[in-house]
C-alpha cells in the first residue's frame, strides 16, 4: 500500500473516513446535529474538489480496481450531483422530526456513493456486483426513511423486493458469462471476442439488471412508486446519482468490454429507447403529483440516453456523458425547488403550484429554466444535450428512431409546459407563500443555474468529455 495507491483511491478512502465519522458522530450524543451537517457538507465539498485534482491511472488489487481519467470524470460528476443533493437535503434534515436521522442518513448515503464508485471503477464483475448491491441495499432503507409514514415504508419494501429479483437476474446473467468466458475480469474478457447465444442471453440479463436501476421500460415500474414514497432528498438522489452511476457502469461495460457484441446491444438499446420514451411520456402526461411526475419524466430521459447507446462509437459515449451531466443539473434544480416547497408546506401537487410565480418569482424562474432544459429548449443546456444525442443516433442512420425521439420530445414539452402553466398562467386565491432559501440551497441553485445556462455555450466542456472518452 504505497502513496500512489492512496492517491488514486483517494475518493474511496476519504469516503470511508466519512462513513466512519458518521458512525462515531451518530453514537456520540454530545455533538449537535447542526454541526454534524455543516462539517459533513464542508468535508464532502473538500472530497468533491479533491476529485478534480490530477490523478494517476491505476490498476489495483489484481485489476479489480481500475482508475483512469474517464472514471475519475464520471465519479466527479456523481460527486457534484451528490454535493448538490446534500446541500438541498439540509432543509429536510433540519426539520424537527428528522434531526435524529442525520447520522444514519449520511452514513447510508455515503456508503451507497461508495458502492457507485466501485461500480464505476470495478475491474471485474465481482466488484461491479458488489458495488451495485452496496449502492442498492442502503437505498432501500433510505426510501423507507420517513418512519411512521406508510407510503415511505411501502416504497422501501417495493424497492427491496424488485431490486432483489433484478439483482438475482443480473447474477444469473453473470454466472452464465462466467461459464462462457471462464473469467469475470474485464481485462481478460475484453480479449475474448466470440459471440454466442448464451453470451447474448447473459448480456441481456445483465442489461436488465442495470436497466432496473436506470429505470428503463419495462424494468421501471418501481420508479414512480419509490420516487413518490421516498423522502424528497432521496428521490432526487435516486433520480440523478443512482441513475447516473447505473448509466455510467452500463456504458463502461458495454463499450469497453462487449464492444464485439455491439450489434446486439445497440439493438437492445433501440428497443429500450423507444419503449422508455413512449411509456414514460404516456404516464407522465397524466401525473398530478410532482414527485411522481418527475419519476416518469426521468424514465423518458433515460429513454433519450439510450439514443446515445445506439451509437456504439466514441460519439455515443461522449454524448451520453454530456447529456447525463446536463440532465443531473436540470433535474436537481427542479428537485431543489420542490424540496423547498415541500419542506415548507408539504404540498407536492401540480395544482398547489398555481400562482407560484406571483409569490416566488426567483424559484419559478429557476424551475422554468430547468424544465426547459429537460425539454430541450434553447438556449439552455438541455437543447445541446438532446441535439447531440440525436446527432449520435442519426450518424448511424437511425432516422426513424430519431424521428420517434423528437416526437416524444415534443410530447414531453407538453407536460413540462403544464407545470409552467400552473406556475405562471394559472391563478389561485391562496398560492404557496414566499419561501426563504437557506445559504446551502442558494449555493445549490447557483451551481445548477450556472450549469444550465453555461454548459451549452462553453464548448470546452463537451470537448473535454470527448478528450477523456478518447
Amino acid at each position: 500500500m504505497n502513496w500512489s495507491v492512496i492517491s488514486s483511491m483517494r475518493l474511496e478512502v476519504l469516503l470511508t473516513i466519512m462513513v466512519l465519522y458518521q458512525l462515531i458522530a451518530d453514537l456520540s450524543e454530545k455533538e449537535s446535529k447542526r454541526s454534524v451537517i455543516n462539517f459533513t457538507i464542508f468535508f464532502f465539498a473538500v472530497i468533491t474538489i479533491t476529485g478534480w485534482l490530477p490523478s494517476t491511472n491505476a490498476n489495483l488489487f489484481g485489476s479489480m480496481y481500475i482508475q483512469d481519467e474517464l472514471r475519475v470524470l464520471l465519479k466527479n460528476i456523481l460527486n457534484v450531483s451528490t454535493l448538490i443533493v446534500l446541500l438541498q437535503s439540509t432543509g429536510w434534515l433540519n426539520k424537527s422530526g428528522n434531526q435524529s436521522k442525520t447520522g444514519a442518513f449520511y452514513l447510508l448515503i455515503f456508503s451507497t456513493l461508495m458502492g457507485m464508485y466501485f461500480m464505476i471503477s470495478a475491474g471485474d464483475f465481482l466488484m461491479l456486483y458488489l458495488g451495485l448491491e452496496l449502492a442498492t441495499l442502503p437505498l432501500t432503507i433510505l426510501a423507507a426513511f420517513d418512519k411512521g409514514i406508510r407510503r415511505s415504508a411501502e416504497a422501501g419494501i417495493k424497492l427491496l423486493m424488485s431490486s432483489a429479483v433484478s439483482s438475482a437476474v443480473l447474477l444469473f446473467g453473470l454466472s452464465l458469462m462466467y461459464g462462457v468466458y471462464g473469467t469475470l475480469h474485464f481485462s481478460e474478457m475484453a480479449l475474448l471476442t466470440d459471440v454466442s447465444t448464451v453470451s447474448i442471453l447473459a448480456l441481456i440479463f445483465f442489461i436488465a439488471g442495470l436497466g432496473f436501476k436506470l429505470s428503463l421500460v419495462p424494468f421501471h415500474l418501481w420508479t414512480a412508486d419509490v420516487y413518490e414514497g421516498a423522502p424528497l432528498p432521496i428521490t432526487s438522489y435516486f433520480s440523478v446519482v443512482s441513475k447516473g452511476a447505473a448509466l455510467f457502469t452500463l456504458m463502461l461495460v458495454l463499450y469497453r468490454i462487449f464492444g464485439h457484441q455491439s450489434k446486439e446491444w445497440t439493438l437492445t438499446a433501440y428497443f429500450l429507447a423507444i419503449s422508455s420514451m413512449v411509456i414514460g411520456n404516456l404516464f407522465a402526461l397524466r401525473q398530478k403529483n410532482l414527485k411522481r411526475f418527475m419519476a416518469f419524466s426521468s424514465i423518458t430521459q433515460a429513454g433519450f440516453m439510450m439514443l446515445g447507446f445506439v451509437n456504439s462509437g466514441a460519439l455515443g459515449m461522449t454524448t451520453v456523458i454530456y447529456f447525463m451531466l446536463i440532465y443531473s443539473l436540470s433535474n436537481l434544480a427542479v428537485f431543489g425547488v420542490l424540496s423547498i416547497a415541500v419542506n415548507a408546506t408539504g404540498k407536492e401537487n401540480m395544482d398547489d403550484f398555481k400562482g407560484f410565480y406571483s409569490t416566488n418569482p426567483r424559484l419559478s424562474l429557476i424551475l422554468l429554466l430547468a424544465l426547459f432544459s429537460l425539454a430541450g429548449i434553447p438556449p439552455v443546456a438541455g437543447f445541446f444535450g438532446k441535439f447531440f444525442l440525436f446527432t449520435a443516433a442519426a450518424s448511424k442512420g437511425m432516422y426513424v428512431l430519431v424521428f420517434i425521439a423528437v416526437i416524444n420530445a415534443t410530447v414531453s414539452l407538453y407536460y413540462y409546459l403544464l407545470v409552467v402553466k400552473a406556475m405562471f398562467i394559472d391563478k389561485q386565491d391562496k398560492p404557496i407563500p414566499y419561501l426563504s432559501t437557506s445559504w446551502y440551497e442558494k449555493a445549490a441553485f447557483s451551481i445548477c443555474f450556472s450549469g444550465i445556462m453555461m454548459i451549452g455555450f462553453i464548448s470546452a466542456i463537451y470537448n473535454y468529455v470527448m478528450k477523456v472518452v478518447g
Binding site: S162, I200, F205, P218, A224, F271, L282, F283, L285, V411
Partner: protein, 634 residues
Amino acid sequence: MDYSYTLLILLLPFLLFLFIGLVGNKMKPQLSGVLGTTGLLVITVLSYFTAFNYFTNRTGEAFKATEAFQFLWLQFTDKLIIHLGILLDPLSVMMLVVITTVSLMVHIYSMGYMKGEVGFARYYAFLSLFTFSMLGLVLATNIFQMYIFWELVGVSSYLLIGFYYERPSAVAAAKKAFIVTRFADLGFLIGILILSFYTNTFDFNLLTSVEGPAIAQPTTAVFMGLSVTTWAMLLIFMGGAGKSAMFPLHIWLPDAMEGPTPVSALIHAATMVVAGVYLVARLFPIYHFTSSDSLDVIMYVGSFTSLFAAVIACTQLDIKRVLAFSTLSQIGYMMVALGVSGYGTEGLGYMASLFHLFTHAFFKALLFLGAGSVIHAVHSNLMTEMGGLKKYMPITHITFLIACLTIAGIPPLSGFFSKDEILVAAFEHNKIVFAVQYLVAGLTAFYMFRLYFNIFWNNSREYHHTPHESPASMTIPLILLAVASIFSGFVPFHDLVTTDGLPLQTEFHAMIAVPSVAIAVVGIIFSAMLYFRKNSKPESIANSLSGIYTFVYHKFYIDEVYLFITHNIIFQFISRPVSWFDRHIVDGTMNLIGNTTVFFSGAIKRMQSGHVQWYIWYFTSGALLLVLLILYLN
C-alpha cells in the same frame, strides 16, 4: 417639341390629393375647394396647351405617338418592366382634354353643390385622387401602368360612391361597384399575364405596332377553338366591360348613383365608365389584326347593352338612374362602333366611337349636372315629385333641354354627328346591329324627353318650399358645358383621332342621317304626347302591359340573380363549408392526435398497478421477451 412639362399634369393632382387629404380637415373647407379647383384649372390649361401643340404641329403625314417622359418603376424580368410614363398620341390627348374639362366643370360645380357638407375637404381630396388616376390611366405608356391606374380609378370611385358613408345604401353600392369591377379586373389581369407571356412586353407602342410581337407573330396555341391571343384579348375586354358596365357586369352602375351627383357626372358618365372604350381603342390594332372574333363579341355585347339599357331607362322614375341607364346605352353605342370598325381607311367606326365618347362626355355631364341642380332644388330624385320647374329654374331648364336635344341627335348639335357616324359604320358592317342601334336612337329620344317633360313641364305642383335657381357656381358650368355640347360636333375629329393617325375621309350619308333624325323626332313627339301634360295615358299603358312593365322596371331582375349567386353560392355553399371544414376536420384531426395520446395514457395506467409482484413479473417477462427478440426473432 418637348412635352416633359406634362409631368405636371400627373403630379399636380397627386400632390393636391396628398395635401388636402392630410391637412384638409385642419383648414377651412372652402379653402380646400378653392385649392382643388385652381389646381385643376392649371392642369386644364396645361392639357389644352398640350393638345394645341400636339395637333397643330404634326410631323409628316401621321401623328406620332411620343413618350413625353418615363422612368423605371419596377422590373419583373429583363423584358417585362413597368415604366411609369406619359404617352402622347391623338387618343390620349383627346382624352386628356375631355377629362380635364369635365373634371374642372365638376370641381367648380361642386363648390356650390357640396356647400356645407361634412367632409368637404375629403370630397375634394378624393376628386383630385380620381383625376390623378384617370389621367394616369389615359396617359399610360404600357399596359401594366394602365392596370395600376385602372385599379386606382376603381378605388377612388369606391371612395366617392361611399362618400356618404353613414348611409348603408351608399356603403353597399360602393362595395358592389368595387367588387364587380374587381372581378372584371381579374380578367384584365389574367389577360395581361397571357398577353405578356406570349409577347414578352408591356409596352403599348410595341404591342400595337403592326410589326410588333403581338401582331407580327400571332400565337398558334389554341384553346377551345379560339387562339390564345383571342382569349387574352377577350379577358382584357372583360376588364373593360367591367369598368364600362357592359352587360352582364352593368349592375353596379345604377347603384353607383348613391354618390354625390357631381361625382356621377364626372366618374359615372363622362370619364371612368368610358375607360373600357378607351382600353379597347388603345389595343385596337391587336383586336383587329389577331382576333376579329373578339371584335364581334364586343360588337354584340355593346349592341345588346345599348338596347337593354334603353328599354330599362324608359321605365325608371329616379332621374339619376334614368341617366345612368342612358349612359349604359350610349357606351353600348361606342362599343358597337369599335366592334364594327376596320383599320386604316376602314377605321370609320373607331373614329366615330371616340367622337361619340368625346361629345357624350360633355352632354352627359351636362345632363347630370342639370339633374343635380334640380335635385339640389327639390331635394328628391324621383321625377314623380317634380314637374313644372321651368319657371323656377330657367337656366337649368334651357341647358337641360339642349342636352336632351343633343343626346337625341338633333342636328346641328354635336350628338347628331357622332351618332350618325356610328350608324353609318354599323350600317356598312352589319345590318342587324344597325337596325338595333337605329331603334335605340328612337328610344333614347323618347326616354330623355320623358325625363325632360316630367321635370320641367307636366303639372306644376306645390313644393313645401319653393325651388329656386342654383347659385352661379353651379349654373356657370352648366352653361359652359351646354356650349361645349352644341359646338363640339364641329371639331374635325376624323382628321385627328384615327386608327393609324392618318386623316380619314368621311362623307355625309343623307340616307342614314335623315331617318335617324326622323326617328328621334318621333320619339320626342311620342313622349310629348304622354308626358307634356298630366294625363292618365302612361299609367294605362303601364297597366296594359303590366307584366312586362314590372319586369323591365326591376331591370330584368339581374341584381336578384347576382344576389343569389353571391350570397347563396359563394357565402353559403363555399365559404361557410370551408370554415366548417377547417374548424372541424383539419383542426379536429390535430386535436384528435392529442386526445388519442391522452386516451392511451389512460388505457395503460393499469400497468402501474401498485402491486410489486406485477412489477416483478413485468421485469422478468420483459427481460425474457428481449432475449426472445434479440436471439430468435431477428
